[in-house]
Amino acid sequence: MAPWQVVGLSRWPARRALRTMKSTENSTSRDSNPPVAHRSFIETNVTRNTAADTSAASAAAGTSAPSAAEILPELYRQMSIARAIDREAVNLQRTGALPAYAPLIGQEAAQVGSGAAIDKRYDFAFPTYRELGVAVAMGVDLTGYMATHLASWHGGLYDPVASRFAPIQAVVAGSVLHAMGWALGQKLDAGLAPVGRAPNEASAHDSSNPDANEPAATEPDTSSAPIGAAIAYFGDGASSQGDVHEAMNFAGVYTLPVVFFCQNNGWAISVPTENQVAGGSVSARAAGYGLPSEKIDGNDVAAVYEATARALNRAHSGGGATVIEAMTYRVGPHSTSDDPGRYRSLDEEQSWRARDPLKLCEKRLRDEGLAGDEFFTEAAAHALEVSEQVRAGILSQVDRPMHELFDFVYAEPPAALLAQRDRALEEIS
C-alpha cells in the first residue's frame, strides 16, 4: 500500500493549481476533411503581432530577431495551445482513441520558447516523442504530428522536410547524432571543411607546429546567408546515452552549428535526475568538449527564447555549438499508462505547480501591462478551438492502407519485395 506522503499540510506550497482548461463537449459538426489545424495560425499570427520577422537569421542580416518582450503575448498563446492539445490527447487516450500518450504538461515554456527562436528558413529541429510544444511553435501540422500517438505512423504524418522538424524519434537520444551530422552538412555547404582554418583550405596536419591541432575558430562568413543550425532535443535521461557524448565531442572538434537543448525535467520514467546525471548538471559537461553552455529556468519562456536565440546566432555566424540545459519539470506521468504515485510524492508534483510556465508568463504580461483580461480569455478560447480542430483531425484519421507496409521501405524497392507485397495484398483481400 503506497504511503500517501502529504507532509506538513500547512506548509503545503501548492499555491496555484494548474489553470485547468474546460474541454467543452466534442463539437457536433465533424469536419469531413481533417483541417490543417495549426499551420496557418502561426504564419498569420506571428506576422500580425510582430512587424520584424521572428527569424534569428535577420540577426545575421542586420535586423535583430524580435526580443522576447515583443513576442511574449504570442509565446503565451502558443503555450496555451500546446497545453490544450496535450490535455485533449490525454482525454483521447482515456476514451480509447489513442493507445498511449506521453504528456508534455509543465514543459510548455522550454518547448515553445526554444521552438519560437528557430528560423525555419535555415534551421532544423530534431525532436524526440514529447516535443508537441516545439511542433506548435514551428507550425507543424498538428494532426499529422499526433498520428504517431494514434499509432497510424511511427514518424508522424507531417512533412518533416517542409516543416524543418525531423520525424518523431522513439529512441531516447536517437537523433542527437543526426543533428550533429546535419549541422556538418550545413558547414560543408558554406564551403568550410570540418576542421580547418579557412574555407576550403586543406587542413594539413602540421605536427611540428604545436598548435596545429588546435582547431582554429573558422572565420565566420557573415556576408552571405547564415549557416543553418540544428537544434537537438533530449532529456536528462537521454544525457546518459553514449550518443550524446559522442555528438558533443564531434561538434566541438568540428565547430558545428548545433544547439544541444536538454530539457532536464527531473525524471526519466521512475529515475530522478540525481540518480541519472552524475555531477548534477548536463550543461557543466559542455566545458569538457570545449563548448559554451547555459543552464536556464526552463519554465521562463522569455529566458528560454533568448538563450536559444543566442545559441542559434552563435551557430549561424560560425561560432559553433552550444549546450543549453533548461531546468523544468515533468508535471504529468511519463505516459498515460505510467503511475507516478509509485515513485514520487504528490507534494513534489504540486510544488512545481507554483512554477507553472503559463502562470509565470501571465504574471509578467499583466505586470508589464502587455496583456489584460480579454487577451487571456481570447487566448484560452483560441487554444480550445485549435485543440478541438486537432481532436477532430485525429478522430477522422483513417487507418493507413496495408500497401503502405511496403511503400516506403526503399526509395527503389527490389522486385522481390514488390512480389512479396503483391502476394500479401492478394492473400489479405
Binding site: 493507445p99 498511449a100 553514449g242 526519466a268 529515475v271 509509485r342 503502405e404 507496409l405 522481390a416 492473400e427
Partner: protein, 356 residues
Amino acid sequence: MTMTADTRPRTPHTETRHLSMQQALNLALEHSLAADDRTLIFGEDVGRVGGVFRVTDGLQQKFGAARVFDTPLAESGIMGMAVGLAMAGWRPVPELQFDGFSYPAMNQVISQMARMNNRSRGTMPMPITLRLPSFGGIRAPELHGESLESLFAHVPGLKVVSPSTPNEAYHLLRQAIADPDPVVFMEPKSRYWQRGDVLLPAPSDTESDAATAEHETTTPVGTSNVVREGKHATLISWGAMVSTCLQVAEYAAEDGVELEVLDLRWLKPIDAAGIQASVSKTRRAIVVHEAPLTAGLGGEVSAIIMERCFDALRAPVERVTGFDVPYPSGALEDAYLPNADRILNAVQKTLEYRRG
C-alpha cells in the same frame, strides 16, 4: 485463446499455481535471487517501480538495492557493466527495456559478452542472462516491437531462448540464469498477461541449486517441445507465435487435419533432432515467426529440415513470417503479423503439393 497445459515430464514438483507469464517470470527471478546471492538484477526502472511491465515488481523491496537496482538510461553502459560484473564473479541478470533498445548495446553484447569466455580461454565465463521484452502485438511506438532472434542466434558464444507459456517462462528463466554462458532471454511481451498453470519446485529446492540442476536433466538447453501431437504437418514456431499455431491446429482439426505444433524454445542452439523427429513423422513443415522473412530463423530451420528430412518431405517447407519491412505502427500490426488464415493457407499448400 485456449492453452494446453505443458505435457512434458516435469521435475517432481509440489505445487501448481495459475499465474500470468509476468507473475511466473517474477517468481523465477525471486527464486533465482534466493538460490544464489551472487545473482543481480539491474536495468532501467527495474528497481523502485518494478519494471515497466512489472516483471521485477517487489524484488528490490525483498532483496534490497544492492541486489536489484535501477541504472542510468544507457543500454551500452548496462551491458558493458554486466560484462565487468561477470568478470568480478557476479551473475548479472540485466534487462533492456525493449527489443529495439538493444541496438545501442550490440557492441557490448556481440564483441564483448559473447566472446569473453573465448578470449580468456575459459577463465572468464559470462553467466549473464539478458532479459529482453521482445516481439510485437501491443500497438507500441517504433522500435518497441522488434524480433531480433536471428541477429543474436548468429553470434557465436550466445545462447538464445524464448518461452511461450507461463510455465515455460518460469523454468526457462531459472535455467537461463543458472547457465554459465550468456543467454538472451526473449520474453514475448504480448503474452505477459496470458495465464497458465505453472509447476513449481518444492520451496526448499529454491534455496539450493538442486532444483535447477535436477531440472537440467529433464529439459537440457537446446531441447524443443511438442506442445500438440499431430500427423499431417508440423507447425514450427517460438515465443508469441506458439499460441497462434495452437489456435491454427484447432481450426485444422475441424477439417480433419491433425497438425503437430513444435515449440522450438531454444533458438540457439536449435533442436535439430527434435525438428527431424517431428518432420520425419508428419513429412510437411511450416515455420512461423514474426521477424521479417529474409535471413530470418525460418531459413535456418528450413536448411535443417532440407539436410535431415529431404527424402521424407512431401512438400517444400513453407515460411509464414513478417514481411521484409520495418515493424509497423499499431494500425498496421495486424496486417503484418502472421495470422491464422496465412498459416492455414501455407498448410493447405503443403497438403496440395504434388511432385512435378
